[in-house]
């Protein structure tokens, strides 16, 4: 078996966060891959939902995006935003929202709208369902590449709220529980129960704490003991490589 890639560690870490029986709204890419891995292993009764109106899809071919017919193959329900985002998410039934991001800050606020590079403003895709998921899911997991500029003290644009200003969610008027994990190619981060600031949960094997700190734009809380992120098992790797993303469309990328 070839060397374990960072994306495989990320995806396995994401899968391990998901429990059986959960309802999960997933974005395209690594979130979706993590969700299928969980479903193929410890969470067979997990229900993945796509915002466009899909429940429990079992794609056979790798899709290029959320609007690609490949992603909703063998679903058990096709509906629309109103059912998935209204009657599940807004109803408070979504256990986990699983998102990507351009930037995430220390309070788990997410930017998917714009970047400011060298003073130049560039716009990206915006929220789509991201703000809704971040506002309403019981907990939110973000999966992204670990770079200093992508993990700033404060996001350039607060598209989707975390613990805004370090405040508790209820005080913000938000129903969902807010950010739970940021999973990167270097580490898994969580949020402090008291001050709601990002805190290190585990380091991926082979990654130094210094490396993480040097590549994190915000002050990261570090507990006394930092465990290692469990590596994907041989069976998980087999599933990922042979069944879930055999062409490495998502696993082959730097995310």
């Amino acid at each position: 078996m070839s060397e374990i890639r960072a994306t495989e560690i990320m995806v396995a870490a994401g899968a391990h966060e998901l429990k059986d029986q959960e309802t999960v709204v997933v974005g395209i890419g690594l979130p979706q891959i993590a969700c299928f891995l969980a479903k193929a292993t410890h969470a067979p009764s997990l229900t993945p939902l796509l915002e466009i109106g899909v429940a429990n899809m079992r794609p056979k071919d790798t899709p290029v995006g959320l609007a690609d017919s490949r992603i909703f193959y063998r679903a058990t329900c096709w509906s629309g935003f109103l059912d998935v985002m209204g009657m599940n998410l807004h109803r408070g039934l979504v256990d986990t929202g699983f998102l990507g991001a351009l930037e995430v800050d220390r309070f788990g606020n997410i930017n998917t709208t714009l970047s400011r590079e060298g003073g130049r403003l560039r716009y990206f895709n915006g929220s789509a369902g991201g703000n809704d998921v971040a506002s309403l899911a019981k907990r939110v997991i973000v999966i992204m590449r670990h770079e200093k500029r992508k993990l700033p003290v404060a996001v350039s644009h607060l598209t989707s709220p975390g613990f805004v200003g370090g405040r508790p969610r209820a005080e913000l008027g938000l129903r969902g529980g807010g950010p739970h994990r940021i999973i990167t190619d270097k580490a898994v981060m969580g949020f402090d129960k008291e001050n709601h600031s990002a805190t290190l949960v585990s380091l991926h094997p082979g990654v130094d704490l210094e490396d993480v700190l040097a590549n994190t734009g915000f002050p990261l809380q570090v507990p006394d003991v930092v465990p290692l992120t469990p590596l994907p098992t041989a069976e998980e790797l087999r599933l990922l490589r042979d069944e879930i993303d055999p062409k490495s469309v998502y696993l082959g990328q730097a995310h």
Binding site: S79, G80, L82
Partner: protein, 294 residues
């Protein structure tokens, strides 16, 4: 077809039923461009090639969208560039908030409450932009819970691309429907483009599949491959080569005109456009497998 599009006045609020690279109303968008409409207000849950083209062609004065994407083919360059240069009024919403606004419109409610947007910069920007009159904090009259009230969205004309309709406009939509139903039923006028026209007897065999009943529909346009180069589930796949070609052009302000000149202004109707885009042999290769649906 061109007569129907001719009835859309400049300055109208149109809503498009596409999502990223799926079921875009390309037939309609091309004809709007050929007819050089002006000052359109465009609303859509997640914009794709359709709205990107309208913006690239300079027809749009104001955008009301929840997001935009060409999936892995790229971002909606024309839209993003227009935001960067400030060449149009821009309202950035979310999938659910726009869906709720259409739902309110469809139900004849002038407002609807929501628990999204709260504490975000999306809300802040709406409150100080052209959407300022469409969001307002409010409280539940029973529980006192805080909500954001959203105003109803009632487009002047909604356009939706569907797989199947009968001549009376009874429509089936296969695959996920994003905000199609609410958007269609919120509109003052509704125009449908269908891949296939079936006899009403076929509609009557499975009336539970009618998502939009015919009496809501002003006109049905029959146009096979009418969403090309975007995908129509069960009918054809997206045209990856054409989408790449589009993104090559759309990513530079100076090149999008070439694409529009060649494929839209340089063709007199959708048939000529399809011919220029590769013709029958090329389209045949995109046809969906009947089991897979793509």
């Amino acid at each position: 077809m061109s007569e129907i599009v001719a009835t859309v006045p400049n300055g109208a609020h149109i809503a498009l039923g596409g999502f990223a690279i799926a079921r875009n109303v390309i037939t309609i968008v091309h004809e709007l461009i050929r007819q050089q409409k002006r000052d359109l207000v465009v609303s859509q849950g997640v914009a794709g090639l359709d709205t990107d083209l309208l913006v690239g062609a300079g027809l749009v004065a104001r955008l009301i969208i929840g997001g935009g994407s060409l999936d892995r083919f790229g971002p909606v360059h024309c839209i993003n560039r227009a935001r960067e240069t400030g060449s149009l009024l821009f309202e950035d919403w979310t999938s659910l908030s726009l869906c709720f606004r259409y739902l309110a419109g469809a139900l004849g409610l002038s407002f609807i409450p929501i628990k999204s947007l709260i504490a975000s910069e999306i809300l802040e920007r709406l409150e100080r932009g052209p959407g300022a009159g469409d969001v307002k904090p409010m409280q539940c009259p029973f529980t006192g819970e805080s909500y954001i009230a959203l105003s109803a969205l009632t487009p002047d004309v909604s356009f939706v691309h569907v797989q199947t309709a009968d001549a009376d406009g009874n429509c089936r939509i296969d695959g996920p429907r994003w905000e199609n139903e609410e958007q269609a039923k919120a509109a003052k006028r509704l125009i449908v483009v269908a891949e296939t026209i079936v006899p009403t007897e076929e509609i009557q065999r499975q009336p539970e599949r009618t998502i939009i009943p015919g009496h809501r529909v002003e006109a049905v346009i029959h146009q096979p491959f009418g969403a090309h180069p975007t995908a129509v589930f069960g009918c054809y796949d997206y045209d990856a080569a054409h989408l790449k070609l589009y993104v090559e052009h759309s990513k530079r302000a100076e090149r999008i005109g070439d694409y529009i000149g060649t494929y839209i202004r340089g063709t007199k109707d959708h048939r000529e456009y399809l011919e220029k885009s590769g013709g029958l042999a090329h389209l045949a290769a995109l046809k969906a497998d009947p089991v897979l649906g793509y």
